[in-house]
Amino acid sequence: MTTVTSGTPDTAETPAPARPSGTGRRVPYWLLLPGVLWLLVFFVAPLVYQASTSVQTGSLEDGFRVTWHFATYWDALGTYWPQFLRSIGYATAATLLCLLLGYPLAYLIAFRAGRWRTLLMVLVIAPFFTSFLIRTLAWKTILSDGGPVVGALDSLHVLGLTDALGVTEGHRLLATPLAVVCGLTYNFLPFMILPLYTSLERIDGRLHEAAGDLYAGPLTTFRRVTFPLSMPGVVAGTLLTFIPAAGDYINAELLGSPDQKMIGNVVQSQFLRVLDYPTAAALSFLLMAVILAMVTVYLRRAGTEDVV
């Protein structure tokens, strides 16, 4: 029998007790077979098909054939670079807003909520269960031209300012970049709050006391102790919001106008309406490449600071 030396078996990387017998060694493969087979057929094979589609030429009538026509990528990028830039811009703005809005709530639940903690967590998660399309449609009501939000912001002269900044237009909110970013922020906010909460909750409260004992003010404590220790949550949260937000097309479709189209909208219309499969496939891969590049750079930068 193996002896157990590790006192903390809670990380995924903890070596599991291996069974030495010959038949036991095959157990993991049998367990994995159905799931991996499923993913190979319905996740990997589709990507291979899509890769091959992206270098095909032809038409719906005559059929498509692989001609290694890599120019599709170049053409797609040349035509749709504004939508790419917009997607990155909107997703970045939404991610930053999520962090700004989500951090206080995660902090509140982790350190200040006391016996209200469970209720607050339920209220963060529960909106998930109402169809997100219905909730996004509700923003149409909230942001509507004659609605109280537009009225209040207009009387405070906020809309004049945002008009000047170019995030709204004509003293209205719907069908403007601000509406789309607001929708994106709203839809992906829980994905920011949950990892932030998880990492904040792990922080030992005594560290705050220690910081106080060493004459650190609340702000210094936050900047030097709390925030650095919550970095894993910040990194996970920003990735979980940025990636889906960059590919989203629901918010731009429901809350924006044709001027706010993101790259997801283009993929959707190329695939389902124009039926130009090669362009849709090329755009998909370009989107993945852009996201992958940004995530790699981000992870490298977030990792080199001595935060974790």
Binding site: L32, A126, S131, F132, A246, L254
Partner: protein
């Protein structure tokens, strides 16, 4: 000076609470709107402006053509997708959490990728496969697509639970002459159960609510999210808000009931120990 500083100091001390509750209000505002507008009697096809109070939509939820059909289809798909993803995912999670074997890193990456990919990309690639192989779009393609994207979430949830489990418990069971099957059924499975339940619940919610992947792989089949999407263009019946409100209420009640049950169980356990 001092009297002006006091509210400021109060504000500074409670800044986190105020900002946090503000964010919570932002999160819940659409749910409030959905609930309020479920009691509306709109004048036109769209339910965006408040007219007059009415409970018609609550008393006649199925009066709109296609709505209840799409709802039951979505529930049905979510049920099967949950079952499929939970079985496949749990098996894989046990292998990944409990065994070291060649290719483990590769499999972990394979499982992680579907979660790290924008939904449109996955949706379009799956539709490409079905188009190329000539599979007819409909119930089966939706179900396959849903199982695929739920699978990763189940693996992650179950793996986390199984990995945090103390292996000494199983060794203790074996020391007490439990057969491998008994050990699995009486020790391992009960410990893993909350992870499996979490994965299943997540699968159900994700499958029921999925629009993007369904939109690409449904053909002319209409699930509930697709019905809502169509309604956003044609006209939004009040009944959509009724469904949204009911889903929110059921979710809150289920979670609170679960919490209460858990607390009572803990208290009983605590009193027995003392």
């Amino acid at each position: 000076m001092r009297t002006a500083a006091r509210p400021l100091r109060w504000l500074r001390r409670h800044l986190v609470v105020i900002a946090g509750l503000g964010t919570l209000a932002y999160l819940l505002l659409p749910n409030v709107i959905v609930t309020v507008f479920s009691f509306n009697k709109p004048a036109g096809r769209f339910n965006y402006e408040w007219r007059e109070f009415s409970t018609d939509a609550w008393t006649h939820p199925c009066d709109v053509a296609g709505l209840c059909g799409s709802l039951s289809l979505s529930l049905w798909i979510a049920l099967w997708a949950t079952l499929g993803a939970t079985v496949l995912g749990t098996l894989a999670a046990f292998a990944l959490a409990r065994h070291r074997f060649r290719g483990r890193g590769g499999v972990s990456g394979l499982v992680f990728l579907p979660m790290a990919m924008p939904e449109v990309v996955m949706a379009a690639s799956m539709a490409t496969l079905f188009l190329n192989t000539g599979v007819a779009f409909g119930f089966w393609t939706i179900l396959i697509a849903h199982i695929t994207f739920c699978l990763s979430f189940v693996v992650t949830a179950v793996k986390a639970r199984v990995a945090s489990m103390d292996p000494r418990l199983e060794q203790a069971a074996q020391d007490l002459y439990a057969t491998p099957l008994q050990t699995f059924l009486r020790v391992t499975l009960p410990i893993a159960a909350p992870g499996i339940a979490a994965g299943a619940l997540l699968s159900f919610a994700l499958s029921f609510d999925d629009f993007v992947i369904t939109n690409f792989n449904a053909g002319s089949t209409v699930t509930f999210p697709m019905y809502v999407w169509g309604a956003a263009q044609r006209g939004t019946p009040v009944q959509i808000n009724v469904v949204g409100t009911a889903m929110f209420a059921v979710a809150v009640l289920c979670v609170l009931a679960g919490q209460l049950a858990g607390r009572r169980k803990n208290r009983r356990r605590g009193s027995r120990r003392s």
